[in-house]
């Protein structure tokens, strides 16, 4: 049985529909990320789950039980806020102990639970310090310790990393990942940052203007986006219009606007396409190659319009056959790369191309 189920969860604020019929299932111990740009409804969703907001429609089930009528303080969900929301008049220990005391747990039992939570986030030496004296990273860890100290059945994390410096974020994210996996806790993680989502989730649910676009593993969203929005939001992409010609054995033949033909493998479950149907195809920049290989498709000649050195790789913008092409190449000190104005031939593996569902 799923640990957490959302059924048609909807929340309207006057005219605005912040969340529109969201349905999801989260397995026990799973980390599910709600990903999307600001205003997509992800924070609304997490606040509905926490009980801070009442849904306009829909149900939230935990272990099969509808928690709609249960007030937030009885839901036993630990929440880490974007602002951390640490109690400024309480020190580190008192912040972490707050939830236990609110439950009437005191004395030695409370102390040992607080110490365990502080150990988990490596803050035990800071237990007596006022929270406003801590660094941003330390405050974030207090917020995490406070949320896990109550041994919540579900951990809710609302952009817990967005207030940290870039340099600190990766390290903190890894700590958070370890901690959640160690505790084996079911977690809902909200972020607008796809890299965080990739690194920290078992599955990602991508929201756009209140509506769920796709839910799946990171590589699914990346290589098999459900629609153009997902393709554009996740990673960089070449999205070209292609026209279906015909089937030839196990291949489907599509044509680019330039007239170049692409022979793509038929994936299982693909429906029959009719001749002349237009679709979008996705090709990630790092899958565009400058030399042919086995089973590669020729994309035709192109000219380098601009290049951008980005450390590990160089990103090229090219033009050829009426198409703009984004391509990236791994850098090496031995190879100089191409220059603006260079004429090159472009290829890609036929398996790297994904034709989006209509």
């Amino acid at each position: 049985m799923a640990h957490l189920e959302l059924h048609g969860l909807t929340r309207r604020f006057e005219e605005l529909t912040a969340l529109d019929r969201l349905s999801l299932e989260v397995a026990p111990g799973e980390i599910l990320t709600l990903l999307g740009p600001s205003g997509c409804g992800k924070t609304t969703a997490i606040r509905l789950i926490a009980g801070f907001l009442k849904p306009t429609a829909g149900r939230i089930l935990v272990n099969g039980r509808d928690i709609g009528p249960i007030p937030p303080e009885k839901r036993n969900m630990g929440m880490v806020f974007q602002s951390y929301a640490l109690f400024p008049h309480l020190n580190v220990f008192e912040n972490v102990a707050f939830g236990l005391r609110a439950r009437g747990i005191a004395g030695r039992a409370a102390r040992s639970k607080v110490e365990r939570a502080l150990d988990l986030v490596e803050l035990a030496p800071h237990r007596n310090r006022p929270v406003f004296e801590l660094s941003g990273g330390e405050q974030q860890r207090v917020a995490v310790a406070r949320a896990v100290a109550i041994e919540p059945q579900i951990l809710l994390l609302d952009e817990p990393l967005s207030n940290l410096d870039a340099s600190l974020r990766e390290q903190t994210r890894a700590q958070l990942d370890r901690l959640i996996r160690t505790l084996g806790i079911t977690a809902i993680f909200v972020t607008h940052d796809q890299e965080e989502a990739f690194a920290l989730s078992d599955r990602i649910a991508l929201l756009w203007e209140g509506a769920l676009q796709q839910v799946g593993a990171a590589d699914q969203l990346y290589f098999q986006p459900a629609n153009e929005r997902v393709a554009r939001f996740v990673g960089k992409s070449n999205l070209w219009e292609v026209t279906f010609r015909e089937y030839s054995r196990d291949r489907g033949i599509f044509s680019l606007p330039s007239g170049a033909l692409l022979r793509l493998p038929r994936a299982a479950g693909d429906g029959e396409l009719r001749r002349g149907v237009r679709r979008r195809m996705l090709l990630r920049p790092e899958n565009v190659t400058f030399v042919p290989a086995d089973d590669s498709l020729a994309l035709g000649p192109a000219r380098v319009l601009s290049r951008r050195f980005a450390g590990a790789g160089t990103e090229y913008l090219l033009e050829g056959g009426g198409l703009r092409v984004l391509a990236s190449r791994t850098n090496s000190p031995a190879a100089a790369g191409y220059r603006v104005g260079d004429e090159v031939e472009l290829y890609c593996s036929s398996r790297a191309v994904y034709v989006l569902p209509g």
């Binding site: 606040r47 926490a50 009980g51 801070f52 907001l53 007030p71 937030p72 303080e73 009885k74 839901r75 036993n76 969900m77 630990g78 929440m79 806020f81 602002s83 929301a85 640490l86 109690f87 400024p88 008049h89 707050f98 939830g99 609110a102 439950r103 406070r146 949320a147 109550i150 809710l156």
Partner: protein, 559 residues
Amino acid sequence: MSVTRKSALLLTLPVFGLLLWLVLYPNLFVLWKSLVSDDRFTLAHYAAFFSSPSQVEALGNSLFISLGSVLLSALIGVPLAFLFHRFDFPGRRIFAALASLPVLLPPLVGVIAFLFLYGESGILTRGLQMLLGLSEPPFSLRGIPAILWVHAYTMYVYFYLFVSAALKRLDESLREASLSLGASRTRTFLRVTLPVLTPAMVGAALLTFMTSMASFSAPYIFGGGVRVLSLQIYNSKLNGDLEMALVETVVLTLVSLLFLVLLQRYEATGRYRSVGKGASPSLRPLRGKGLRLAMAVVGIAAVFFLLLPHLTLVLISFSQDGAWTTQILPPRYTAANYGRLLADDSFLEPILNSLKMATLATAANLAFALAGGWLLIQGKLRGRRLLSALTLLPWALPGTVVALNLATTFSVSDPLQARVLLVGTFWILPLAYFIRNIPLVVRAVQAGFEQLDPNLHWAARSLGASWFYSLRRILLPLLLPAAAAGSMLAFVTALGEFVSSIVIYTVDSRPISVEILSQLRQFNFGSAAAYGVLLILMIAAVFLLFGRYLDERHRPAGQ
């Protein structure tokens, strides 16, 4: 903190009810009364007002004094703000803090200190006369110049504090941008710095004008018979000409309201609010030994001048009652005045009365502000603007107006007209204090609420705290500094309140301020000053303890 409709309604009804009944209704009642005669509508009272030369003169004087007060206050306050917040020299910090000293003088006490100092038989006046060997006092400070003198001394603080705050917020990169674009220093000052400071100066000007229109103590004690509107209300009521008092009240209310509306409008436009984060301005060190020394001397002289009224009060408070007649300084000193305040029942009684009434009023203010302040931060609440306007209204109402409103509305019991007999009872003064301090405490508490991260409440809830537990353990402790600061300031303001008190006090519960006046009338200068020093000490204590939680707006006002 989103509101459930039920709990919002539970608070909205009593909060609005109280405001409508105690703040708005008495105004409307007075307006109505001023427009009827024998139950019929008439403009006769207004005709009488505007055809009476003395009434028109009073209105003209009030306006003239207010304009003059704005001008003089700006001339003192703005340069001082620049001096202390743009330049660095020895002792700057101390001078900068001491420049707000006049704030510590409650209305009546400040005027009395001036009387002792600059009056016809004041210390300074007689001192100069003696020094110069004159047979007559060298100056005679009375009438409009005297009032302006007191106003300038007490109200420049608005300009000083507002402009200082604006200077501290001023984004130094604006000035640097202007200079880098090729503008000269003068041009930069005129075209960049000054326009950015305009909102602060306009705010201070409107506030000074309002305060000056409401001013009562200075014309009452120091005016030498000059007619001003606030005083006319008191005199008309004393003479039994209630109709005239009503019209005067309406006229004064309208002028004050006009300025409140202007002030609100101006604040609402929110112009020139800093766009980016920017750099805070650095202080320019004054170079050159001579200049630094000169500044220090000027500073010390200024502070001494600012301290004179306070020092005078302290000195007089140790003088023997009745001994000071024609000498420059009181000839005999004693600590008995203070002893008497506590030991002699007739002296102690006003203190106890004031303590009791101020405590009652402040407790009510706090409870009301917690409810009102919470409602005011509910973004979606219907009628929030009306609520905000009603809580601000008493701020625009001069003390004499509040008093006359209450005296007129609550003179009889008439449930049908929502009138209760309060005149002549103990309850009318605490009620007046409560009404006058509504804006102060509500604003302080509202600011406290606004600084709370709403997620703190939700964090507590998600950790298992009930609504009430979160209120008790998180919200109230965090609100405490702001609420305490506002309440304590309201308390000391109520403790020394004079302007409303003098109009509606009852003999059995006369407050400190009325007692000071009566001691003064009996030439018991020492006792009067001792009461005054007591009040100043309490106000100073509040500022020392809670000053950092108060913004420049929440200072005792209304001479």
